[in-house]
């Protein structure tokens, strides 16, 4: 588990959880891409937690994770899930609904 918290801005940052499984290329790419998006586009808006399901498989059951990697935005509701290596920054931002 790694914490990648950017320095906080005016609002409390939105919490994102990225589920990965081990050090697979896809997982590593997702972590890299997410880091880049947060750094370049929205510094300080997000607090990102990375969970390695290989270490804690019961969390996959608890949070209903099937595909790897999965990025979850639990709040604000409704819950949002993005699966894939997050290679398209624009799409990721659209699905995280950060335009509003």
């Amino acid at each position: 588990m790694t914490d990648m918290t950017d320095e906080p801005q005016q609002n409390t940052p939105t919490k994102l959880v990225l589920y990965v499984a081990g050090q697979t290329p896809k997982s590593m790419a997702a972590i890299r891409n997410l880091e880049r998006i947060c750094r370049e586009k929205l510094p300080g808006r997000f607090a990102v937690e990375v969970i390695d399901l290989r270490q804690q498989p019961h969390l996959a059951r608890e949070h209903g994770i099937v595909a790897i990697p999965t990025l979850v935005r639990e709040l604000p509701t409704p819950i949002r899930k993005i699966i894939g290596d997050l290679s398209d920054s624009e799409k990721v931002l659209v699905h995280l609904s950060v335009g509003d």
Binding site: Y19, A21, T24, K26, A29, A30, N33, L53, R54, P57, H58, A60, R61, G64, I65, V66, A67, I68, P69, T70, P78, I79, R80, K81, I82, I83, G84, D85, L86, S87, D88, K91, V92, H95
Partner: protein, 562 residues
């Protein structure tokens, strides 16, 4: 696909499904995935869950149920109705339900991914209970959740290989697709065992059928086999035609009607015979066959009565009218009455249910009343094939079978519409003939293989004292029955009486004459005797006179000398 080791004789895991394990010579291939496919509502999930539950309950194989659709609570309540305590087994750690729900609405795909999360969850579940069996119901749901089919196909292939590697016996369900066994072509990935379930409706009657499409390493039939889902769960009913190599019995059993036994050399039928009782409406077919069954019960044997027209209570009531009480037999479990409308199931289903009931109850006598009820529900060839199977099945078990058949046209040359006579060992024909303004029942033994049976047409009488078969009354006007018989008998009796009276009068007269003659003879004899006595007296006097004369003469001579 990863090559799998081929051993001599693969291991199998019993499903505990009635009939299925016999059909597949042991169940599903152990350690391999089996695909169960079929249309919606055909029983895939039930098949899969029965396999899993029986594994945990009876074969000490813990299992995991992976549900992609139904919630665990629904699964638990579904199987509770079949008598399985799923929650109890979950609490004991023998079973686990893994619910994998994916809502595509809150899911977006950006870039490359895999289903490692699914693998991790399955692995966790498998390790948690030490599962040897797993059910995936139905993995095709993933295709509606994820949009990239290329990734999915690769992942599903990987999943099946992974399951094989783990040596888990898996059942994967899949919905029937157009032109393929499953919508997503899952059969591509599962090559060991494929079972197709089918649910067809014809003439508004539904039939469930099962077919083993593929089973590597096992000789299997490819016939469609009916199966049943009822209060006992899932049961497959293999209906195989048997040869003519069955054993025959020399033992004779009573028909329950003494007069009928006496028509059959006095001993009744051979055990294991097939007996056809045919006749028009109201000729007493049901009554006769029920009394066969009751006779078996009386002899301490079990009888199974399939009625396609009457309920159990009705049969009991009707039999009471001829002084036969079936109730105690039913209560003691010796007599079982199964009632089902012909339209309730399809033909095969009826057949399957009949065979299953027979196998379970294990009777020595089976009655099917009436088989003609099926003619309307299927084409004659199918009906014939079905009855052939029943006859073969009964014969192979040496069960005596009684089949009633309703005919519409009466005559001694009646041919059953379904050409049954050749299947039957005994054919009892019941007639209902009109004569002199009344109908009278008659019984005739058309054939009885292996017995020198009576060739008489007997009058068939049902009363409170039971069934009686009266010998025919053959008068001047042919065989007579009913009132005509009674009248004819009375008339003959009158004639006979008259004749006897005449004979008596004549002999009386002759006797008198004889006596008179005798009396005259006696009188004459007495006269004769008197005459004889007179004659004797005269002769004696004469003789005495002559003697006296001689004596006197001698006396005179001697006096002269002196």
């Amino acid at each position: 696909m990863q090559p799998t080791e081929r051993e001599n004789g693969i291991r199998k895991s019993r499903t505990g499904i009635d009939g299925f394990d016999e059909l597949t010579l042991g169940g599903l291939p152990t350690g391999r995935p089996t695909l169960v496919c079929g249309t919606a509502g055909c029983g895939k999930t039930l098949f899969a869950s029965t396999f899993l539950l029986n594994g945990a309950a009876h074969y000490d194989d813990p299992g995991v149920f992976v549900s992609f659709e139904e919630r665990p609570v629904d699964i638990i309540s579904n199987v509770a109705s079949l008598g399985y305590d799923l929650q109890g087994m979950i609490d004991e750690g023998r079973l686990l339900i893994e619910h994998i729900a994916i809502d595509p609405a809150d899911l977006a795909e950006v870039g490359d991914y895999d289903l490692e999360g699914l693998f991790l969850r399955l692995e966790l579940a498998i390790d948690q209970v030490g599962a040897k069996r797993i059910v995936l119901d139905t993995i095709e749901s993933l295709f509606s959740a994820f949009t990239n089919p290329a990734i999915l196909r690769a992942e599903i292939r990987r999943l099946f290989d992974w399951l094989k590697e783990k040596g888990i016996t898996a059942v994967i369900t899949g919905e029937r697709g157009d032109g393929s066994l499953t919508r997503q072509g899952l059969e591509e990935y599962v090559s060991d065992c494929v079972i197709l379930l089918d649910h067809r409706v014809s003439n508004q009657i539904s039939t469930r059928r099962l077919r083993i499409v593929k089973y590597r390493g096992t000789a299997h039939g490819t016939n469609e086999i009916p199966f049943l889902i009822d209060e006992d769960g899932f049961s497959v009913l293999p209906v195989s035609a048997l040869g003519l190599s069955h054993q025959v019995s020399e033992e004779r059993i009573s028909s329950g009607v003494n007069d009928l036994d006496s028509m059959l050399e006095g001993h009744g039928f051979y055990r294991g015979s097939s007996i056809l009782v045919s006749g028009v409406a109201g000729s007493g077919k049901s009554t006769l066959s029920a009394s066969f069954a009751a006779a078996a019960c009386k002899a301490g044997e079990k009888a199974l009565y399939f009625s396609f027209e009457e309920s159990a209570d009705q049969t009991v009531r009707n039999m009471r009218s001829i002084g036969m009480d079936l109730k105690p037999c039913i209560d003691s479990g010796m007599f079982r009455h199964v009632a089902a409308r012909p339209t309730f199931y399809s033909l095969e289903m009826h057949l399957a249910v009949i065979l299953r009931e027979i196998s379970r109850f294990n009777p020595t006598t089976v009655v099917l009343d009436p088989i003609s009820a099926f003619i309307g529900t299927g084409d004659p060839q199918e009906v014939h094939a079905m009855l052939l199977r029943i006859v073969d099945f009964l014969k192979s078990r040496q069960i005596t079978g009684i089949f009633t058949h309703l005919v519409h046209v009466q005559g001694s040359d009646v041919e059953t519409e379904i050409g049954l006579s050749s299947l039957m060992d005994v054919w009892i024909l019941l007639l209902n003939r009109e004569a002199g303004g009344e109908f009278n029942r008659e019984l005739y033994l058309l054939k009885a293989r292996g017995t020198s049976h009576s060739n008489q047409v007997r009058e068939f009488l049902m009363s409170h004292d039971g069934i009686r078969l009266l010998p025919p009354y053959v008068g001047e006007g042919g065989a007579l029955t009913g009132t005509a018989r009674v009248a004819e008998e009375a008339r003959s009796r009158r004639l006979e009486n008259q004749r006897r009276a005449e004979v008596a009068a004549l002999s009386e007269r002759l006797e008198q004459r004889r006596r008179k003659a005798m009396a005259e003879m006696e009188m004459l004899q007495a006269q004769l005797a008197a005459d004889e006595a007179e004659l004797k007296r005269v002769l004696d006097g004469e003789k005495a006179y002559l003697n006296q004369l001689e004596t006197d003469r001698q006396n005179m001579q001697s006096s002269r000398k002196m």
